[in-house]
């Protein structure tokens, strides 16, 4: 591979100096990232120790696994324990606790659960086991939704009748809108997710500008993240909110229209519960009627509890963590009752959750 290097330590140090210089003209600022991969990189790089004291980096609801409601997990577990059902899932989902149990527990009870890295593998598995009902657990943001949609289209075209998809996709812009409406939250700027933006482009983020909040589309290498923070500081100094694309090698202004068309053809927006936050209008995706035979909720008559109560895990402060109101180590359960091995709340359940990142890398 001979790609341009975005992790040069000398340039990184100079970027940090620039950030210090620029931030000295600012009061306390709070930058929220809404991508689990950013959360992990910021932790791994130890950035919080290196940045000026007046910049605080907070993690928003950027991990799709973390915000998947407990009722969804419980429904997947119940399904997995039915006869002649085979569950196919990304590895991230297996340990996530529902309100009652987890897929890992179901496996010990004899459930057939296969871990894959692509939804296309679910098609092969369904063809390999024609006498079984194969259900793919489809989670993820806009980065992942086109892959789900294309796989549903392929299953439909190839008439793979024993394959269905149990959807818990979420989309980012409605969540940003919900965060902006929450009066408790005071975010100065957003570090916007690079690979979600690779699909949706820049236009959906215009909603931030209506609230006077700038956003910088940011990549994932060390220089990308530092550049993202520097661009945020510059925008805050200038006082004029804008959406800046600091990841143009991957993100085009218009995103990937072909991928968007693929998922809009198969999927439609629906209201959805975000674990730890609540119901956010039009923030989920459901399978359109013509493709219903591949909708696990329809095929297996699953009626998910979509009440607000679904959003509140018992005994933890993850709602406040996901909104950036407190940092993970301010939760009374952090690193005591709640650890990556025994997670209580959504932010600890996935390796990309903000509590898991704090636990692994420290504040």
């Amino acid at each position: 591979m001979n790609l341009v290097n975005f992790s040069d330590p000398i340039i990184a140090e100079k970027l940090l100096q620039e950030i210090h210089g620029c931030a000295s003209g600012l009061g306390p600022i709070k930058i929220m990232e809404v991508c689990g991969t950013h959360t992990m990189e910021i932790g791994r790089l130890g950035l919080r120790l290196l940045l000026p004291k007046n910049i605080s980096l907070v993690s928003g609801p950027g991990c799709p696994v973390c915000v998947t409601p407990g009722a969804y997990i419980d429904a997947a577990v119940a399904l997995s324990l039915e006869k002649r059902v085979r569950i196919v899932s990304y590895g991230d989902m297996i340990r996530v606790p529902g309100d009652a149990s987890s897929l890992q527990w179901a496996k010990t009870k004899g459930a057939n659960i296969e871990v894959v890295t692509s939804p296309l593998e679910a098609l092969e598995i369904a063809q390999k086991f024609p006498d079984e009902e194969v259900v793919f657990l489809a989670v993820g943001f806009e980065t992942t939704a086109p892959a789900t949609a294309q796989s549903i289209a392929n299953a439909y075209d190839a008439a793979i009748g024993n394959l269905s998809f149990f959807l818990s996709h979420r989309v980012v812009p409605p969540a940003l809108a919900a965060l902006l409406l929450d009066k408790e939250i005071s975010i100065s700027a957003f570090m916007l997710p690079g690979h979600v933006s690779a699909i949706i482009g820049e236009a959906p983020y215009q909603l931030l500008l209506k609230a006077g909040i700038p956003g910088v589309i940011t990549g994932f290498d060390p220089l990308d993240i530092l550049l993202g923070i520097l661009e945020v500081c510059k925008l805050l100094v200038s006082g004029s909110p804008k959406i800046i694309n600091a990841y143009p090698r991957i993100v085009k202004k218009e995103g990937n229209p072909r991928a968007v068309a693929a998922y809009e053809k198969i999927l439609e927006p629906c209201d959805a519960v975000w674990r730890g936050i609540g119901i956010i209008p039009k923030s989920g995706l459901a399978i359109r009627e013509p493709y219903r035979r591949h909708d696990a909720a329809f095929r297996h008559s699953i009626d998910l509890d979509k009440s607000e109560s679904q959003a509140q895990p018992k005994g933890c402060a993850c709602g406040s963590v996901l909104k950036g109101l407190i940092s993970p180590d301010e939760c009374p359960l952090f690193a005591s009752r709640c650890t990556p091995r025994t997670p209580v709340g959504p932010c600890m359940v996935s390796s990309e959750g903000s509590c898991a990142a704090y636990y692994k890398y420290g504040a």
Partner: protein, 76 residues
């Protein structure tokens, strides 16, 4: 989980490409991306190429950073 990895397209057959991902040869589905050619770098996520890697833009971003240092008298 939005991790996407750059991979170089080695060959294309229909909707599928053979790609070199950090030294490993694997398959990527090209259905979601327009006009991909052999030799292109693509970002692969859950088995699908979701966007092309624009090498020109990558160089430009680094040049902009260096220019910024020159203006502020910091030398990389």
């Amino acid at each position: 989980m939005c991790l996407a990895v750059p991979a170089k397209v080695i060959s294309i057959e229909g909707n599928l490409a053979k790609v070199d991902m950090m030294g490993n040869t694997t398959t990527a589905d090209l259905s979601l991306l327009e006009s991909v050619a052999v030799g292109d770098y693509v970002m692969v996520h859950v088995g699908f190429a979701i966007q092309k890697y624009d090498e020109e833009e990558a160089k430009k971003t680094l040049e902009l950073i260096v220019e910024m240092f020159e203006k502020s008298d910091i030398r990389p």
